[in-house]
């Protein structure tokens, strides 16, 4: 199962500058594992021992995965994943 993962500017040093890359996996955890296999080191920038890093937001089809099932969130074909750093609004 292939999904598109959109990479924020700050992590594109891992993807050779690519804005969007393809990854495999039936859950977010599996997708990140697949990403890290293709782009070694990126997984460590997304996750720490407690799960998703505090200032990393991940959206499955525009919905924040923290309000879905977190790293266990199921991912299907044609889904799109967006990774963004947390920034201020207001």
């Amino acid at each position: 199962m292939a999904v598109e993962v959109r990479i924020p500017t700050i992590l594109r040093s891992f993807t050779g500058g690519e804005k969007a890359v393809s990854a495999e996996g039936a859950s977010l955890q599996a997708v990140i594992t697949s990403l890290d296999a293709s782009y070694p080191g990126i997984g460590d920038r997304l996750l720490d021992d407690s799960g998703l890093r505090r200032f990393i937001n991940v959206y499955l089809n525009d919905e924040d995965v923290r309000f879905l099932d977190g790293l266990s969130t199921p991912v299907g074909d044609n889904d799109s994943i967006t990774i963004l750093p947390a920034v201020a609004g207001g």
């Binding site: 700050i10 200032f55 990393i56 309000f67 750093p85 947390a86 920034v87 201020a88 609004g89 207001g90």
Partner: protein, 315 residues
């Protein structure tokens, strides 16, 4: 409706039904018109509350200088209140905001210090914190961490919504300082806990996320994820599309961030229709479109608008 002064008129905004955008008679959308506040945005509530609370706490007195990082609306609201109450206001604002915001801030007597476009509001917060450290006599009310911001919505926005729409099932608002969602969310948790609280977060162009490293990310001190049911990220294309639809179909002239909120509200409404459950979904119209006319959001195709908004702080 009569009030003793302009400041007394903050809040009490209309809640209007959207008969044409609502997907069915059982799943209804309601718009809370916060553009009807004195400076034309929801931020009047938080600005008035933060200044009133600081006065009550003895932190400020007329003649003092206030400092605030803001992408615009909070600054404009604070400038209006500050002028009424006799304070000087210095706003730290990212340079990639609409020219109308600058004009309005200056009209209400604020001084503006620009922060770099790259990094968006994160940079404004950083610059303001630096200035606050250099000028101990300036008072930073700090909307991102000031409990009076959320309290304003607990005290007014939440009760107004429940009074006008006792059958409310969902509340949708923008996520910036998080003040609206935290205050209204806490109010409903205590008064009607089954109401779902849904956040719509603007997804800006890449320039705004131009951090040097991930540890420079920012989460407002007010934010409590437990108060939210779900959170959506909405890009400029969907936001502009919905903003235009709101004008076209229901006649409401709103700003771009309202389009992002409407996108989440309509997504929620469609889920309710699919699930066959009735719903009364209230969402926030943060401000009118006036301040964004120069951005290009209202002209040309969606592609044109998307290009025009790239790199701007449109919410």
């Amino acid at each position: 409706m009569r009030f003793d002064s302009l400041l007394d008129s903050v809040g009490h905004t209309p809640l209007v039904g959207l008969p044409r955008l609502s997907p069915s008679p059982d799943v209804r959308l309601w718009a809370k018109l916060e553009d009807r506040n004195p400076t034309g945005s929801i931020k009047d509530r938080a600005a008035l509350a933060m200044i009133a609370q600081a006065e009550a706490d003895g932190l400020i007195k007329p003649g003092d200088t206030l400092l605030e990082p803001t992408s615009g609306n909070t600054g404009i609201s604070l400038a209006m209140v500050a002028k009424q109450r006799g304070y000087k206001l210095i706003c730290v604002m990212p340079e990639n905001t609409s020219s109308e915001r600058t004009q309005l801030l200056l009209m209400w007597g604020a001084e503006i210090i620009y922060s770099p476009a790259a990094g968006g509001s994160n940079e404004a917060v950083r610059v303001a914190k630096g200035l606050a450290a250099e000028h101990p006599d300036w008072v930073m009310l700090y909307q991102y961490g000031n409990p009076a911001n959320a309290q304003a919505h607990y005290d007014s926005t939440g009760p107004e919504l429940l009074a006008d729409l006792p059958t409310i099932t969902h509340f949708v608002a923008g996520l910036g300082t998080t003040g609206t969602l935290m205050g209204v969310g806490r109010y409903f948790r205590e008064h009607k806990p089954d109401v779902e609280i849904i956040a719509a977060e603007p997804r800006y162009g890449e320039l705004v996320y131009g951090l040097r490293n991930i540890d420079e990310g920012f989460i407002p001190e007010l934010y409590d994820a437990d108060l939210l049911t779900s959170r959506f990220s909405v890009g400029p294309r969907d936001a502009v599309k919905r903003m235009r639809e709101l004008l076209e179909v229901e006649g409401i002239f709103a700003g771009v961030s309202t389009g992002a909120i409407l996108q989440a509200a309509i997504g929620t409404a469609n889920k309710c229709v699919k699930a066959g459950v009735p719903a009364d979904i209230a969402f926030i119209v943060c401000d009118g479109g006036w301040k964004y006319l120069s951005t290009g959001a209202y002209e040309g195709t969606l592609d044109d608008a998307e290009d025009a908004l790239d790199g701007q702080l449109w919410a």
